[in-house]
């Protein structure tokens, strides 16, 4: 080809089809594939080569489609995930992914599959190391990578055509493949960026580059007119209802559009709406915004200093809320002590780093607004958008798209109110996709915590007391700050019996990113210090840290720090029992190794324990589930428990199917649409399996008992569906119910409805924080086995052994997936992740664990059944992460004697600590 400028025709094949494209040779391949060819299986997570979500094959080699200018692909062959296999004809690799549960949210899956395809073409039976290397550039935030590696290693076993499984109604306790798995492994699940109407306008939020400033807007009408293709510039003045949102009913402190003042870098000042090219071409500096920059309030120490300026005039001392707990007599505890330990830690902002940046679209339908976006909390989105628009709740419909990871970060609204306002005002569909940088700059973070504590034990190693004060940097807006301030006192003494406890917490405003919900609501931060102090006590008393925990572990019947007596499903001792042999073996090996080899490497083995209350703290948080049977024999499960990758669509179905007594394959599924599904609350607080699962169980039982009554059959009868009849077989005789004979109660021909509602029983906490905050707790203990390179300060994880009391594993594969993913995030929290506004706003500088950073993980599932839960189940989402950092830090301490004071423990920090430890 000769020199080409302008718009050449580019010819190439995509998945075997010859295509040609005339256009800017500089456009990215990823954009063309998605927007021109509709190949939405190629995902965009960063647009900078860092995440690998866009990986495609170019002449058989994996490359980032976001980095390939179209001009480069003339005459080449491109393969996308759509070229690997289709929904009814999956490739072996895709079936292996399904079988292994290698896709959780599925946003990384196409990239993983493509990268694996390049490898498998070369070697059909690769080793784990080869897989880790070949896929190493693709990031996954959900799975911890282990099941992905297994799926690729095993792919060759799926080369034979699949044998159809016979349907079974025995479903609880089996690793049922994800119900949305097929869509995930074919890349056809519609995420927030995938399904917008083709005529949708493009919305680009314009954000503050300053952490604290006041600003004035110039003539925006003139600006709009001067920019063809730009249809509107929306500001605070355009909000039809109230320009504020927030997760608490009485704490709506965050504006949709900043109104004259910004409180953090990344806050929305205005939104440009119009043709995509026009909107994107506008340079920030060209906008008529006049700034007066002020000194930001950074960090909790500065924020609580007497002369600190207020972040919100409503809170002159910058203290958003205080929380606390008082049990027993703390002084008496310390007076009687044989050993006392003291310490402090400082943790960082941590970014959720879901691979799917926020995305969605809204359209106005008459006098209603419909918003399709990735979310963890459709009903909260509905409430917020209704307030912002100033319309009734019945005028808003939220349709959750597939959600490419959340971990708490998609609980708060992000672009939903912006889209709602734009579509409402302009009466046209409007879409928006956050860039990676924008997502990271604007979304909520894990709270940085400044914690001080001391603990006491008697001569036998019985815990006597713990006292803790914890300040949480909640950033510019409240978000879930109050939840953190409430959850930490309840959990801060750890899963142990401690007679005297005093914990005080504060959530403090600063001019930093809003800190919100992130897997554990402050509990992981507090657990790091609390577990360290208990290690201290054990060491001082000459007791093995494992034994120390065993002696103090909370057992059924003992009161918690809030005075709650847990009568059942208190599985920590069982977790420890399961870990004991591993502990003994690893500690002995470590001792031997450290003795034999001097050298620069020291091995360490540590343990971390945790407990975590499932559901909201001392608050009603009900879920409802509905099942309908139509006169044509359709059985439909209406499930509003949004699946953000953890698998709630599958687990809820399994529970419901088992309760009703029909196989899962009999169900049609309706998910998460606020117009169609009853409210199943938020996907947070490890509550969906426990709370919504119980509602699903009750709905299934409700429907079952109606059917049995119609058939006059006994409890153990067997139900089967044949076309529009139900056959009920009871010992010896069979009754047929002809559904067409039953009266329909709605236009869909519904003849039977099963309903279930569950609200976990809790009681309010009194002024001393005493009460029953949760109906049940998850328990876990993890062992970390690692080596520290004493010369480099680097940590090399060998193995994590995780014992988790999940009550009952409804789906063991999904539970394991949660544990792997939680551990991976725990590793990140402990050793590498630190969000610094303005400096680590991309996935190049903000590092999350990759394949090579995850050690071997052994999962030991403990099933100490929770009588309230569905088939005994309770939550796992957050418990998975909490014990990992304490176990890692315990192991580092075992190896080196160094105690963590600053998290993450980056190599240079560890090395400094080693030096001062030696000095």
């Amino acid at each position: 080809m000769t020199s080409v400028a302008g718009t050449p025709t580019i010819t190439f094949t995509v998945n075997g089809n010859i295509e040609s494209h005339v256009g800017d040779p500089f456009q990215r391949l990823a954009t063309i594939l998605r927007d021109e060819f509709g190949l939405i299986g190629t995902k965009i997570g960063c647009d900078a080569g860092d995440c690998g979500a866009c990986t495609v094959l170019l002449d058989g080699r994996q490359v980032c489609a976001c980095m390939i200018p179209l001009g480069q692909i003339d005459g080449t062959e491109i393969v996308t995930v759509e070229g690997l296999g289709s929904s009814d004809n999956l490739a072996a690799l895709q079936r292996s992914f399904l079988h292994h549960g290698a896709a959780q949210c599925g946003i990384c899956t196409p990239g993983m599959l493509i990268a694996a395809t390049e490898l498998l073409a070369k070697d059909a039976m690769p080793s784990k190391a080869m897989v880790e290397d070949a896929l190493g550039g693709v990031l996954c935030r959900c799975t911890g990578y282990i099941k992905i590696v297994d799926a690729v290693v095993d792919a060759h076993q799926f080369l034979a055509p699949p044998v159809a499984d016979s349907p079974t109604s025995e479903t609880v306790g089996t690793p049922h493949p994800r119900v949305d798995g097929n869509a995930k492994v074919t890349g056809q699940d519609l995420f927030g960026a995938d399904g917008a109407p083709s005529d949708a306008l493009w919305l680009r939020p314009v954000r503050s580059p300053h952490a604290r400033a006041v600003f004035k807007l110039g003539n925006l009408d003139a600006f709009c007119t001067a920019h063809p293709g730009l249809e509107a510039v929306l500001t605070a003045a355009d909000v039809p209802g109230e320009n504020s949102f927030g997760v608490y009913p009485d704490l709506k402190d965050q504006p949709v559009f900043a109104d004259g003042a910004v409180r953090y870098r990344g806050e929305v000042v205005l939104a440009l709406v119009g043709k995509r090219t026009a909107v994107e071409a506008i340079q920030f500096d060209a906008l008529p915004i006049k700034w007066r920059v002020e000194d930001p309030v950074t960090g909790v120490t500065a924020a609580t200093a007497t002369e600190a300026p207020a972040v919100h005039i409503s809170h002159p001392d910058n203290i958003l809320v205080e929380g606390g707990l008082r049990k027993g007599n703390i002084d008496a505890g310390f007076t009687a002590a044989a050993a006392i330990s003291e310490g402090q830690i400082q943790t960082a902002f941590v970014e959720h780093a879901y691979i799917e940046p926020e995305a969605g679209f809204a359209k106005r339908v008459g006098n209603r607004i419909e918003i399709t976006a990735c979310t963890q909390a459709p009903y909260m989105d509905l409430d917020e958008c209704a307030r912002v628009l100033g319309v009734g709740k019945d005028a808003v419909r939220i349709i959750p798209s597939a959600c490419g990871g959340g971990f708490g970060g998609k609980l708060d609204v992000s672009l939903q109110p912006l889209l709602a306002i734009a579509a409402w005002r302009l009466q046209k569909p409007v879409r928006c996709i956050y860039t990676r940088v924008e997502s990271m700059a604007s979304s909520t973070k894990r709270h940085p915590a400044t914690i001080q504590a001391r603990a006491a034990a008697d001569q036998e190693g019985k815990l006597l007391a713990i006292e803790m004060t914890a300040d949480f940097n909640t950033g510019a807006y409240a978000s879930w700050g109050p939840t953190v301030a409430d959850r930490v006192p309840v959990h801060g003494s750890g899963p142990y019996f401690v007679p005297n406890v005093q914990i005080q917490t504060r959530s403090i405003y600063t001019n930093e990113p809003p800190a919100g919900a992130f897997r554990g609501f402050g509990v992981p931060q507090a657990a790091i210090l609390q577990e360290q102090l208990y290690d201290d006590l054990a060491l001082e008393l000459g007791i093995d840290p494992f034994e120390f925990r065993y002696r103090n572990a909370i057992r059924a019947g003992l009161p918690t720090a809030t005075g709650q007596k847990l009568e059942a499903s208190v599985g920590l001792v069982k977790c420890l029992d399961a870990l004991q042999p591993h502990w003994n073996k690893s500690r002995a090996e470590a001792a031997r190794q450290n003795e034999n080899h001097g050298g620069s490497r020291r091995r360490g083995v540590g343990i971390g324990c945790m407990w975590y209350g499932c559901g909201n703290t001392s608050m009603s948080n009900p879920s409802e589930i509905r099942i309908s049977v139509s006169n044509s024999g359709r059985v439909t499960l209406f499930n509003g428990a949004v699946d953000i990758g953890q698998g709630s669509y599958t687990v809820i179905l399994q529970i419901c199917a088992e309760a009703l007594g029909l196989p899962p394959s009999e169900f049609d599924l309706v998910h998460g649409d606020t117009d169609r599904t009853p409210d199943a609350g938020k996907t947070s607080a490890s509550r969906q399996t426990f709370v919504t699962g119980k509602a699903a169980y009750l709905a299934g039982r409700d429907l079952r008992s109606q059917i049995l009554r119609l058939a006059n059959a006994g409890e153990d009868a067997n139900i089967a569906r044949h076309g529009s009849t139900l056959r009920v077989r009871d010992t010896g005789h069979e009754t047929t119910i002809d559904l067409t004979d039953l009266p329909a109660i709605d236009e869909h021909g519904t003849v039977l409805t099963g309903k279930g509602r569950f609200d976990p029983p809790t009681t309010p906490l009194d002024e001393n924080g005493q009460g029953n905050p949760y109906a049940t707790f998850g328990f876990a203990a993890q062992i970390a086995d690692l080596e520290v390179d004493m010369e480099l300060g680097t940590v090399h994880l060998h193995r994590i052994i995780a014992a988790h009391d999940v009550g009952r594993a409804i789906n063991p594969s999904l539970v394991e997936g949660q544990i792997h993913g939680g551990i991976a995030q725990g590793i990140g929290l402990a050793l590498m992740e630190e969000y610094i506004p303005g400096r680590t706003e991309n996935l190049h500088d903000y590092l999350i664990p990759t394949f090579g950073d995850i050690p071997e993980i052994d999962v030991l599932l403990i099933e100490d059944e929770e009588p309230l839960g569905p088939y005994g189940a309770k939550g796992i989402g957050e418990p998975a992460l909490i014990p990992t950092p304490p176990a890692i830090f315990g192991a580092i301490r075992h190896a080196t004697g160094v105690k963590v004071t600053r998290v993450p423990l980056l190599p240079h920090r560890l090395l400094e600590a080693l030096k001062s430890h030696d000095a």
Binding site: M1, T2, S3, V4, A5, P8, D24, P25, F26, Q27, R28, D47, A48, G49, D50, G52, T55, L58, R61, Q62, V63, C64, M67, I68, P69, G71, Q72, D74, A115, D133, A134, L135, G136, G137, V138, E280, A281, S600, E791, L792, G793, T794, M832, E834, I836, R839, T840, H844, D845, L847, P849, T850, F851, G852, D853, L906, P907, H908, L911, E912
Partner: protein
């Protein structure tokens, strides 16, 4: 947001060279496109190098290696002779980005990126590579050791293209190693990169090269340290002394990845480790003779 650029797609080397004046070469784009999008770089017209014939050829004979200007990091990994021809470069390629970046990123692009953390550069320095530069007015060759003149500054003239790199195959008495210290295993910017070449002659080190990455405005050779080792038997004490000299020659910065102190310290540790490792591996070979 990508602005519209002019993109030249010349068909051969000659045409490429005539298009270069005023244009910016575009190889894998893994630096250039990211920088253009983030508006850290400016360019009016990009000249794509991907159509130049035989631009990715690798030639390895007994004594000599020559790679084309379009050779990718992935090409280095896929060439089975490379492990003997450039062990440190293969080492760097193995820990370079992810495979999808390796398939796209070129060695010449890495050399030209000017980043002190560029991973192939310490190995190329340790191998004493020659850079072949061509423009429409002629060709010349520059030793990589004198290529860099400051942060993001090098000897390449605006209208010149790197058409290839070459070096001598390390002999049986030479060990050549690379280590990348980074904050995670996969795909991470280097905190400290160290490449060493040690040649052993009997009980002495006859030649040593130590190249350090990410600890100064450019990748550089720690020549003080090299001189201390040359023509000496390498004792642990001497190796440690030389490693300290390497540390003294580094001039790192504090950044989000690590502190300057940490970088200095790890230069000492890693240089000591790699020289020691190289020396011991050669001792094994000596014993086999």
């Amino acid at each position: 947001m990508l602005r519209e650029f002019e993109l030249d797609l010349p068909g051969d080397l000659q045409e490429t060279l005539t298009r270069l004046p005023g244009g910016t070469p575009l190889a894998g784009g893994t630096n250039l496109l990211v920088d253009l999008r983030a508006r850290r770089e400016e360019a009016k017209r990009l000249v794509w190098l991907g159509n130049i014939e035989a631009f990715r050829d690798i030639k390895i004979d007994k004594a000599h290696v020559a790679i084309g200007g379009g050779t990718t990091v992935g090409d280095i990994l896929r060439n089975s002779a490379m492990i003997d021809a450039a062990p440190s470069l293969v080492g760097a390629a193995r820990v370079f980005g992810g495979q999808m970046v390796r398939n796209q990123a070129t060695v010449a692009g890495n050399v030209c990126s000017g980043s002190p953390a560029a991973d192939t550069v310490p190995p190329l320095l340790s191998l004493d590579a020659e850079i072949c530069l061509a423009s429409s007015t002629g060709v010349r060759s520059v030793p990589i050791d004198s290529f860099y003149s400051g942060f993001k500054k090098n000897q390449r003239k605006q209208d010149e293209l790197i058409t290839g790199l070459s070096w001598s195959v390390p002999g049986p008495s030479t060990a050549n190693l690379f280590y990348k210290l980074a904050r995670r295993k996969g795909d991470a910017i280097t905190v400290v990169g160290v490449a060493v070449t040690v040649t052993r002659d009997g009980d002495r080190c006859s030649d040593a090269r130590i190249a350090l990455g990410a600890v100064a405005p450019t990748v550089f050779r720690a020549k003080d340290a090299e001189a201390m080792l040359t023509d000496q038997p390498l004792t642990e004490e001497l190796i440690d002394e030389a490693a300290r000299a390497a540390m003294a020659q580094s001039n790192p910065i504090d950044d989000i990845r690590a502190s300057a102190d940490y970088r200095r310290h790890t230069v000492h540790m890693l240089t000591r480790r790699l020289i020691g490792q190289a020396w011991r591996s050669l001792a094994g070979k000596e014993a086999d003779k």
